[in-house]
Every structure is written in C-alpha cells, then in structure tokens.
C-alpha cells in the first residue's frame, strides 16, 4: 500500500479559502488544457487569416484603390495600412467569441461540464470568469500573431503601433463578455447561431468602418458602427498604428464605450451563470 492510499479525508485536504481566491484560474487552466487539443488548428487559422486577408483585400483590392485615390491615400495612408487595424480588432473579437460562446453552450448544455465544476467548491461566478479569462488569453495570442503579420506586410507606421494590441484585445473582451452572457441564457442554440452569424457578426464586420471610413456610409447606417465594438477598436487601432486623427473626446468615448460593454457583459454573465446553475 502506497502512502497516498491512506485516506486523509476532505476535511484535512481541501482548503476552501484557496479555491475562493483562485477558482477562476483553476477553471481557466482546465479550459486552456482543452484549447491545447486544438492549438495547431487555432494557430494555423490565426496566422493564415491575416495573410489571406491582407494579400487579397489589402494588397489586391488595395492596389486598385490606391491607384484610383492617388497619393492622398485612404485617410492619408495606403489602403493596406488603413485596413489592417480593423482586421486586427476583428480577429480579437472572433477569437473571444469562439472561446466564450462555444464553451458556454457546451458547459451548460452539450456536455454539462459546468454542473460538474459547480459540484466542487467552485461558484458560478468563478466558472464564468474562468471561461472569460481563457477567451482573453486566446484573443491575446491571436492578436499578437496578427500584429506580427501586419508588421511583415509593412502595415505599421507609428512607433507606438504595438499599443493596438491591447486595444484590440480590449474590444474582444467587451464583445466576448456580452456574448458569453447571451450564450449562458440560451436554451436552443441553433437559431442563435444563425442570427449571430448573419445578423450580428456579418453586419458588424461589413459596417463598422472596416473596409471604408464609417463616414462614407449613408448616415442612417452609421449607427451600426457606433454600437459596434469593432468600430471603436478600429478607430483606436488606426490612431495608434498610423496616426489617424481622433479628438481627445472621441478617444475617451471609445474607451468608455468598450469599458461599459465589458462591465455589463461580465456582470450579467456571472449573474446568469449563477442563476442557471442553481436551478
């Protein structure tokens, strides 16, 4: 009989205070372990995505655009430089969405793993934060890789361009937190995916000033950009990577908008997780 086979009992072994302070990290650790099963696929997409977009739209379509607008450029720069910060933020948003929506539905519905986590000292709030932390981690390395590709394509003009990394992750966090809260409420995910893909993700991507300045759209469509985390992050990214002009007020507006979205998302996500687990 080895030493471990002598029963000590949970009263001796388990330190609840420790779980209360680190629970979200334990959840994130196990989520990252799951992510590692797909890591080559995730990294492959994270690198292939910017290369394909930057070549086809940035250089291919961009070549035509640059020719027709002349030396003034789009917003004063090459089309590639204009486009890249938007795609950077989009990559962060896509990354956090994948890493919040799917694990949340899986945890509550597909494999019910959240219920097994909640049978331990972990609380609903900790499970919610743990999933969110993992999404942040994914957004971070996705954005860093994207940024590397942007650099290789010569799409960075400002020395403080690297600050676009945290602002993109910030946008991903805001959107991801809100999506996580929504996903936690879902009973039937099939309709959700259709609606999310066609009526949320697609319009956000097309109408957030991603491919052309928001102001060049008809005024009645510009609101899509205003409520879109992608537009706010894109504006910040453009400001940081090539010096796109933003008034100090708008700078604040972008940060505050993303901040409020993040807080609301996290609050409701934690609340909905707790309620659903206690049913």
């Amino acid at each position: 009989m080895t030493l471990t086979q002598i029963r000590q009992g949970s009263l001796v072994l388990v330190d609840t205070a420790r779980v209360q302070s680190r629970g979200a990290l334990y959840v994130a650790q196990s989520r990252i372990r799951q992510m590692m099963k797909w890591i080559w696929l995730i990294l492959g997409i994270a690198i292939a995505n910017p290369i394909l977009y930057l070549i086809s739209v940035g250089i291919g379509l961009g070549g035509l655009i640059d020719k027709s607008v002349g030396p003034a450029g789009v917003d004063g720069v090459k089309y590639l430089t204009f486009l890249a910060p938007a795609l950077l933020a989009q990559a962060a948003i896509q990354g956090t969405m994948d890493e919040t929506v799917f694990p949340t539905i899986e945890g509550f519905k597909w494999h019910k793993t959240f219920y097994s986590m909640n049978a331990t000292p972990l609380s609903g709030v900790q499970i919610s934060y743990g999933v969110f932390l993992t999404a942040l981690f994914r957004a971070f390395y996705t954005v860093v890789l994207y940024f590397g590709v942007m650099w290789a394509f010569g799409a960075l003009e400002s020395p403080r361009a690297w600050l676009a990394i945290p602002t993109a992750v910030f946008a991903g966090a805001s959107f991801g937190a809100l999506m996580q809260a929504l996903a936690a409420r879902l009973e039937d995910e099939n309709i959700f995916f259709v609606v999310l893909g066609r009526f949320v993700m697609m319009p956000l991507f097309m109408f957030s000033g991603t491919f052309f300045p928001l102001t060049s759209m008809p005024f009645f469509l510009q609101w899509i950009g205003w409520i879109s985390p992608l537009w706010h992050a894109t504006e910040l990214g453009r400001h940081l990577t090539y010096g796109h002009a933003i008034s100090p007020t708008m700078l604040w507006v972008h940060f505050v908008f993303l901040g409020i979205m993040l807080v609301i998302g996290l609050y409701f996500s934690a609340r909905i997780f707790t309620k659903r687990l206690a049913k």
Binding site: L3, G9, V14, V27, Q34, K37, A119, L122, K279
Partner: protein, 308 residues
C-alpha cells in the same frame, strides 16, 4: 445518538406550480449508506441537488455538515463527492486529465492530485485507458470514471444519483464492490435508485419516495417486514385472465395484487399456498415463489410498480 451529518425538515422544492420535493424530513448519520428509492420523477434527484448545495430549496430547513447550503455552498461542496445521473465528463480530455483537473477544482496541490490520479485509475480499473479520450470509453467505463472523479478530494459524503442505470450486470457488481470498499473506509454514501436490488444491496437505511413525498423509512429488512409478507407467490394465467382469476383467489391469502401480466399473492408460506391453489382446481400457466422485496413494499405503498 450522534449529531446527524445531514438533517432536513420540511424540505420543499417547487418549479413554478410543480412541487418536486414536498416537505420531506430525514437525517443521515456518519458512515451510513442512505438511500432514496422511488420511480423516475419521485423527486430523488432534486433532493440530491439540494443536498449537493447547488440547487436552492423553496422552503424548509436543511443542514449539511452543520452548515446551511444556501449560505455556505462552497464550504459544503468542498466535502462532497458528486456522481450525477448523467456523466458530465470533459469529453475532449483524456481519462487521467479528467481526474487531474477535477482535483485542481478543489484547490488540491499538483503533486497530491498526480498521486491520486494513479490511485483512482487503479480503483476504477482504468489504468490501461489513462491516456484515452473520454469519448472513446464504454458506458460502464465512463460511469466508473465519474465515480473515481468524485473521490479525488476524499470526500466525507459520496452522493450517487442512479449509479448503475444503463450498466450491464457485471459492471453493476464491480461498482457495488467499489462502493462497499468506500463504506468500509468510513465514507458516508447517499444513493438514489429505482432498482430495488440495488437499494437492498447498498443501503443501510432508506426512504421510499413517490411524487415528492416520503412514503416510508427504515432499513430494507424492516420495510419488507412492515409492508410485505415473508413470501410472494407470482401466478400467470395469461394477460386476459389475470384480473378475473385475481378476484377468485382473493380470499386465499393476506393480500393480492393484480398486475396486467401477473397476480401477486402475499403469504408467509408460498409453497403451501400454491398446493392449496392446485387443490382448489386452479391452473396457472406459470408459478413462482420468491421472497418479498422492496418492489413489493413500493407496490403496497403506492399501488404502482417501480419501473413502469
């Protein structure tokens, strides 16, 4: 009498208009194997989720390890090992990883959990499957893994919700053997089941539940003694004649139950009763004398069989 580990009074849980658990009282003592017996929908799983400090009660009181689950959920769950009715394993991770991450959820050190994983793989006879993805396991293996997972923190109370549903007879016996060993180590077991043989095998004491209420409480032997006779004579006359024959045989025994497929006659001596029946010129197609079981107790208490 020592203080109970779990004590419930008037425990009630409602989902909208539906009352899943209707004012039940019970006490569970340390080292005991306590069962909830009843058909599907009796409220057993709901009661287990309240004891598991995850689902909140609508009214009544409950204390687990001296604490109120509504106020001290994590502190209580720290000492429970929960085996839910449905295996909610992490399908994408390996067998060993499932045990490992679960240990970490209890805040146990990496070193301790690594040692524990080896021990539990041996306990659950899954050593050869250590690195297999959970998706590839058979139903019995998944069940054993779920039980092993619940033991990673060496819980004071192990809660098993329908532990052997869906398992073949051999797998059930392996599981029962494992549960006996745990009981020998002083672990308190809480078991829900709709299998009477499982309840008889595993439980020191049990409550019989139906429609959210407790119908009876006691040891399997005392319940059988109080609510059934020593033996049962089962007769089959063919599905169209059971009802009619039951009416004719009613006076010959203490109690009779006419089921669609057979007639159950409750008596102290089954063989003697069978001889009387043949002597009276009745000719059943088949006959069987057996000892009374918890199934008969349930039938007596509710007028229905456990598995419908």
């Amino acid at each position: 009498m020592p203080n109970p580990l779990i004590s419930a009074r008037g425990l009630t849980k409602k989902f909208g208009d539906f009352t899943a658990v209707n004012g039940i009282d019970f006490d569970v003592f340390k080292g005991e194997s306590f069962g909830f017996l009843g058909p599907n929908g009796a409220g057993k799983s709901t009661a287990m989720r309240i004891i598991g400090a995850t689902s909140q009660r609508t009214s009544g009181t409950i204390s687990i390890l001296g604490k109120d689950p509504e106020l001290h959920g994590p502190q209580i769950r720290a000492h429970l090992g929960v085996v839910p009715q449905q295996d909610n394993l992490d399908m994408q991770l390996s067998v060993a990883e499932n045990l490992y991450i679960y240990g970490r959820y209890f805040g146990l050190s990496r070193k301790f959990v690594k040692g524990k994983v080896d021990e539990l793989l041996a306990f659950a006879q899954l050593e050869e499957k250590r690195n297999a993805k959970v998706e590839t396991l058979s139903g019995g293996m998944k069940r054993r893994l779920t039980i092993a997972r619940a033991l990673v923190s060496e819980p004071e109370i192990l809660m098993l919700d329908e532990p052997t549903t869906g398992l073949d007879p051999q797998a059930r016996h392996i599981l029962w053997d494992r549960l006996f060993r745990l009981k020998e180590q002083g672990v308190t077991l809480l078991i829900t089941t709709h299998f009477m043989d499982e309840a008889e095998q595993l439980c020191d004491r049990l409550i019989v539940m139906d429609k959210g209420s407790i119908m009876a409480e006691g040891s399997p032997a005392s319940l059988i003694k109080n609510y059934a006779t020593k033996e049962v004579l089962e007769l089959r006359f063919g599905s169209d004649r059971n009802q009619e024959m039951g009416a004719k045989l009613r006076t010959m025994c203490e109690r009779i139950e006419e089921l669609p497929d057979r007639v159950l006659m409750y008596t102290e001596d089954g063989e003697a009763l069978l001889e009387e029946i043949y002597a009276a010129d009745f000719h059943p197609k088949t006959s069987l004398v057996r000892r009374s079981s918890l199934e008969d107790v349930f039938l007596r208490l509710t007028g229905r069989t456990l598995i419908e």
